[in-house]
Amino acid sequence: MWQNILEFLQSTGFAGFADSTMMIGGFIPGELIMLLVALLLLYLGIAKKFEPLLLVPIGFGMLLVNLPLGGIMTPPVGKDTAGLVWYLYQGVKLGIYPPLIFMGVGSMTDFGPLIANPKSLLLGAAAQLGIFVTFIGANFMGFEMKAAASIGIIGGADGPTAIYLTSKLYPDLLPAIAIAAYSYMALVPIIQPPIMKLLTTKKERMIVMDQLRDVSKTEKIIFPIVVTILCGLLLPSAVPLLGSLMLGNLFRETGVTARLSDTAQNALINILTIFLGVAVGATASADKFLQLETLKIIGLGLAAFSVGTAGGILLGKLMNVLSGGKINPLIGSAGVSAVPMAARVSQVVGQKENPGNFLLMHAMGPNVAGVIGSAIAAGVMITFLG
């Protein structure tokens, strides 16, 4: 019996630390460090309100997978069933969750401000510069090309797109990229303003833009269909993401599919967000996450956001000049996506110079355009590297 008790003790997680595949400094099990990282993520999500809907499940998934011997991500072996989260992870691996989540995002998104101001689309394109500059940077820093593309997409500032691309190209980087993407999205109000102020003059920031025109219901219905056909023909590999986004938006706008829109943006997106978050977090085993690469990714992610912000602002300046001073360049930074945070930042920075200036609706155009833009960029990456 004492033998049995000993064996039982060896099956505890405390004993599991001793068998860790990764001993840092020779005696600290990697899992222990990972538990601290998980706690940090939970802290950021809960106390700092960093995208809590994602970071809380991701942090908890990371915690679960790093409890030694818990087996929550064990694949099935023979007739043994797999760990719980392994099953949930299949929806990430097979590319199912991100497009369906995008459907919910679509049914929450109002493209009205974009339809009212088509020039917004250019700003949404320019802000994707961060993706490509970071892609090149990551190549130079030694990442192989698939990894570099996955890292670059952080600059798209769009969670489902980043997770979809990474799960297709380089799943090992999933947790680092997801965490970087969501953290920087939460940090947009801190990252963007200095860049915005640096690149614009006070006079530019004070520009008051014309009221947007009304957008009819018909336009809002036709828009998602047009986007799907146009972009789908141009870039077939963007169809799963863009098509789902636009289907959700169509449910929202028809006026006769309110039931579907409601479920897409509530029950369905919430269920999948839980599954996706926990599963992505649970890919963060110590040996994959505690690498120098992770730090590099966090650094490159910041660069991606900054370059994207600058790209949007600079094109905004150019468009302002060309339009004869009618475009406030501050709305350009909203093109990175991070809906609607980046648009709010444009509003806040603009209002600081000119309290009567209301840029929010004008910034929503580039903001939602950025979602389309980064999905297209992801499609290009999949076409070449997928």
């Binding site: 090309m145 025109r213 018909t218 336009e219």
Partner: protein
């Protein structure tokens, strides 16, 4: 394929796609909404709210929102009533809804 090619084609594709879209949207303005452009004086940030409040469609929402806001002292923006839904979907007739509503509250069956 080298990274420069990918980058050049990538940036081009993003711009090409979004510029094409923006041309289509410029057509929208002429096809769908030539006479609808109005310019109210934008005095407050609540660009969305007036439309909702004054359009006949928004009346019922505005009334409910205002009523609850008034009776509680909270700003109308700080909460929402998520579940006032239009009757519709799967063609269930009105009497079905009333019936279900009654049972939902009482757990009993209203005979109809």
């Amino acid at each position: 394929m080298d990274m420069w090619t990918i980058t050049i084609i990538g940036v081009s594709t993003v711009f090409l796609a979004l510029i094409s879209l923006s041309f289509v949207l410029m057509l929208f303005r002429f096809i769908f909404a030539p006479r609808r452009t109005v310019k109210p004086s934008a005095k407050s940030m609540a660009q969305a709210t007036p439309a909702v409040t004054t359009s006949p469609d928004g009346t019922i929402i505005a009334v409910i929102t205002a009523a609850i806001a008034a009776s509680t002292g909270h700003s109308a923006a700080s909460f929402r009533i998520a579940s006032v839904e239009a009757v519709g979907g799967f063609n269930t007739p009105a009497w079905g809804y009333i019936d279900r509503l009654a049972r939902a509250v009482h757990g009993r069956q209203a005979n109809i």
